[in-house]
């Protein structure tokens, strides 16, 4: 028997603690916020996120479920909202910007630089074999490291009040609101659907509908299934396992002998066309609406339609012509 592998020095759990601490700080600062009417709701909401990140591995499934219900209740019943922590005025910002010039971009560029250098070192030098991080998740550790370095540089260079990064961060997270949590919730929804037998039923339905012997129709239904399931669940990751076992594997791969690499890779991208068309994909389509203060909640989705539809057609054609070359 081989001994169990030693866990890496830093695991995802440590990352969750760090991010959880940030959310806990957002919650605490909300409690002391006298200007926002939603301060208590925001404090409870980010407090629950902090609890989930820091304690999620210890609570047990049911308590984690109650945390989710708490988040949903607070957000769904309108207890959360924008906040206005004290910040600089527009004139002050203009003056700062003129004073510092393009150097202002530098701390923001530190983050990608650390991720890039870290990743290269990780794959090209023995650094990668030192068992420092959870395998295949190293990017997230470099991201966190980049953020910490950038914050340190900004702190030394700009000398903001000590709490400024957290207060300003709270301004942004409250502008984003529950949309920051929705993608995680939707992935969880997909898993429960799966357990409840929803995926199996979809498979049954699609196979019954498809006439045999029509390759193009099978490709089209697979791609359409990816896009549609992504639109109603808000997530292409949830759609792929369902559509792969419902159509791609029994029909496209086993019956028509298509190349699984082409079908898998481009099938996922057909799903992404659905992501461009659904407001449920909150990270991509709702977060910018909140940050940019757009009037129409579907403004981003609408701007994407005319790219998503031709891209969908391109993906169908690519699967049809590339996967069945032999």
């Amino acid at each position: 028997m081989t001994p169990p592998p030693t866990p890496p020095l830093l695991t995802l759990e440590h990352l969750y603690w760090l991010v959880g601490a940030m959310f806990a700080a957002f919650a605490l600062l909300s409690l002391f916020d006298r200007t926002s009417k939603k301060a208590w709701g925001n404090a409870a909401f980010w407090g629950l996120m902090a609890a989930s990140l820091i304690g999620g591995s210890y609570f047990g499934d049911f308590v984690n479920g109650l945390i989710v219900l708490g988040l949903v209740g607070l957000a769904g019943l309108g207890f959360t909202g924008r906040s206005q922590p004290k910040t600089t005025s527009r004139a002050e910002r203009k003056a700062f910007a003129d004073l510092r010039g393009n150097w202002l971009f530098m701390p923001a560029l530190i983050v990608p630089l650390v991720v890039l250098v870290g990743t290269l070192a990780f794959y090209l030098t023995p650094f990668g074999e030192m068992n420092l991080f959870t395998p295949r998740r190293e990017t997230y550790f470099f991201l966190a490291a980049g953020v910490l370095v950038a914050l340190l540089v900004a702190q030394v260079w700009l000398r903001p009040p000590l709490l400024a990064p957290l207060q300003e961060g709270r301004r942004l997270i409250d502008a984003i609101g529950w949309a920051a949590v929705l993608p995680q919730l939707l992935l969880a929804m997909g898993k429960v659907f799966d357990k409840a037998g929803v995926s199996g039923l979809i498979q049954e339905g699609t196979l019954a509908m498809l006439p045999p012997g029509n390759l193009f129709l099978a490709v089209l239904v697979f791609a359409l299934g990816m896009a549609m399931f992504t639109i109603i669940t808000g997530n292409a990751f949830a759609a792929f396992p369902v559509m792969a076992s419902a159509i791609a594997i029994p029909l496209l791969i086993n019956t028509y002998h298509g190349d699984p690499a082409v079908i898998g890779a481009i099938g996922m991208l057909a799903g992404f066309c659905g992501t461009l068309m659904t407001p449920l994909a909150a990270n991509f389509n709702i977060v910018p609406v909140r940050l940019l203060e757009l009037q129409d909640p579907n403004a981003v989705v609408k701007a994407q339609f005319a790219t998503a539809l031709p891209m969908f057609a391109v993906n169908v054609a690519l699967i049809y012509f590339l996967a069945f070359r032999a």
């Binding site: 940030m22 989930s52 990140l53 999620g56 049911f62 479920g65 989710v68 219900l69 949903v72 910040t87 527009r90 910002r93 203009k94 910007a97 003129d98 510092r100 393009n102 701390p107 983050v111 991720v115 890039l116 966190a144 903001p160 400024a164 990064p165 300003e168 942004l172 529950w178 993608p183 992935l187 969880a188 929804m189 997909g190 898993k191 429960v192 659907f193 357990k195 929803v198 039923l201 990751f237 396992p241 594997i249 699984p260 690499a261 082409v262 898998g264 890779a265 996922m268 992501t275 407001p279 991509f284 389509n285 940019l292 009037q295 403004a299 701007a303 031709p310 391109v314 690519l318 590339l322």
Partner: protein, 225 residues
Amino acid sequence: MSHYLPLLGILILLLGFALKLNPMLVATAAVLASGLLGGMGLQQVISEFGKAFNENRIIAVVWIILPVIALLERYGLQERAKGLIANLKNATVGKLLVVYLLYRQLTAAIGLQNTAGHAQTVNPIVAPMALVAAEKQHGALEPPTVEKVKAMAAATDNVGLFFGEDIFFAIGSIVVIQQALAAHQIELSPVQLSLWAIPTAVAAFIIHSTRLVLFDRQLRKAAAR
């Protein structure tokens, strides 16, 4: 017939979607309906929901970027981005966004997908730049035009990300594909999969760039009116 009942969850999603209810509430209602009708008890549904939510906490990690960006905004990051474009003579919204599209696709393709995005780059840098470019060309903008320019900046980020990131092999969606196919004894390496993301990436650049050029033309027409 009764074994089709769990599909009610999907129906609830569609209905909630159509009625524009809060998606957090709609998704949770759908989960409860599908779970209960699929034969689980209430406590079991809540537990399964909590377990799955907990297993996906990695999604929350990207928000760690917020304090850095927000702090730089305090010191005029948006204002500086505007100044940068104001000094460029021939900048247009379309040209600016084509350059950003390419940047977003290329950086995502080498694994830097979390270093740009709506909070990281669109809101503090790209959208303000796009607005300045539009104002330089067409003078003061009507509110609907402002909204259109901002939405197009956000859309360009999404298109660049979606059709760039899968070229990088060590990314979530590639793992999802690999795992789903491996469950059916089809073993593929991540690199095999990521190579086939390239044709779509090229097509996305061509299609969206064309739209951006047309967008410039549209703005010009709107301004002439």
